[in-house]
Symmetry: C2
Subunit: 231 residues, 2 copies
């Protein structure tokens, strides 16, 4: 964490989204001995492309390669400059606030959202954090700085992109049922969808490949499995 290795004043934050049960969930970090919760983030190396840096940080934290990643906004308000927050975190970790003084400066943060298959992830806390854990979008703990606003903007952007990009495929396992895909859409939109209309629309879009059925052991007709066609 040498100051000289990184671009000063520039950070990134990532809203890592997963889907489990019927809920959208986000990976949130908790810093050692502080009770402070935050989005996973990092800094940009002087000789590294921004997108690559974010992707690398994400792979380290989730253990997943080839993550679906999308930049959605850059946050640069003065109001997000609260050095006392970072100072509290460094102190609680017995870090030398002299050599890490640069972390107390004002930062402009480029925010990304990532879509991953919940079951693939083994969240790994970093040196400063106790835990890196899934929280349902609707039951987030209080977050530091403007991280709540960042989460809200991420979800709004995801909603706007839902019909244009194959969002569902990245939040589910390789093969999934139509109902599972519908639940993903419902979680993102925050509304119920009509089963038959949804099915017709998705099939008409011609983006799915159909496989064998999946037998759940329940007393009813078994649904087909689908995957997204490789584009």
């Amino acid at each position: 964490m040498q100051k000289s290795d990184y671009l000063p004043h520039i950070a990134y934050d990532s809203v890592i989204l997963g889907f489990s049960g019927k809920d959208l969930k986000i990976l949130i970090m908790e810093y050692h001995n502080t009770g402070l919760f935050a989005l996973p983030g990092g800094f940009v190396k002087k000789n590294e492309t921004l997108d690559d840096e974010v992707r690398r940080g994400l792979e380290e934290r989730t253990g997943i390669k080839n993550i679906y990643l999308e930049q959605f906004h850059t946050f640069g308000d003065l109001a997000r400059y609260q050095p006392e927050v970072m100072e509290a975190i460094l102190k609680a970790n017995n870090k030398d606030t002299k050599t890490l003084q640069w972390l107390l400066d004002r930062f402009i943060s480029v925010a990304y959202y990532a879509l991953i298959n919940y079951d693939d992830v083994v969240p790994r806390p970093d040196a400063l954090s106790d835990s890196c854990q899934w929280y349902p979008v609707k039951k987030l703990p209080k977050l530091i700085l403007d991280h709540k606003i960042i989460v809200e903007k991420a979800i709004q952007t995801l909603r706007d992109n839902l019909d244009r990009k194959s969002v569902g495929g990245n939040l589910l396992p390789e093969k999934f049922t139509m109902k599972e895909l519908q639940h993903v859409h419902e979680a993102i939109l925050g509304t119920k969808l009509r089963r038959t209309s949804f099915q017709r629309k998705i099939l008409a879009a011609d983006v799915l490949k159909r496989y064998e059925k999946r037998f759940s052991g329940k007393a009813h007709k078994a649904p087909y499995l689908y995957s997204f066609k490789k584009s």
Copy 2:
């Protein structure tokens, strides 16, 4: 242009869009004695919110207050780091490359697009530039660094936002005809639209207020004037 006043490594670029005739146009700067063309941009003061800084820079350059402004992407590739370009600009202007050394560093640029009424603008070159002039989107000169990519992404974003945000109102005078609004949409989408469908859709959206007719002096029925309702 004191180094100490600005955040290092952070810049902004603005794609300033206007509409004239039947074309989308963009304000492009030309640097003194270099033949180099670029998007208008600037740097972020240490104690200024990013959005405010961009807005201020834009108002200075166009003479317009309350500009419609939207951030759309942040560009952070290593490939955009070409110190020789900025060095050429500084030398051609007889600037001291010692005290302005920081301008030769790598910059991450936050890009915005602005929509303005073409007729309201009196473009003003800044200290480093010969001219600040309108160019049709389809006939841009060769631009420095990744500025061409920035322009393309701006237009793509504008296209995606066309139905959600009242784009047309910001590119036209206060009052305009239905045909003028249609031309704006066509220029942004790059396609022809059907007159009656367009009119029906816009009117159904219930965002326009209708005024008196405008008599052009031509031998045919005069169109109504409209403005966007204040929301």
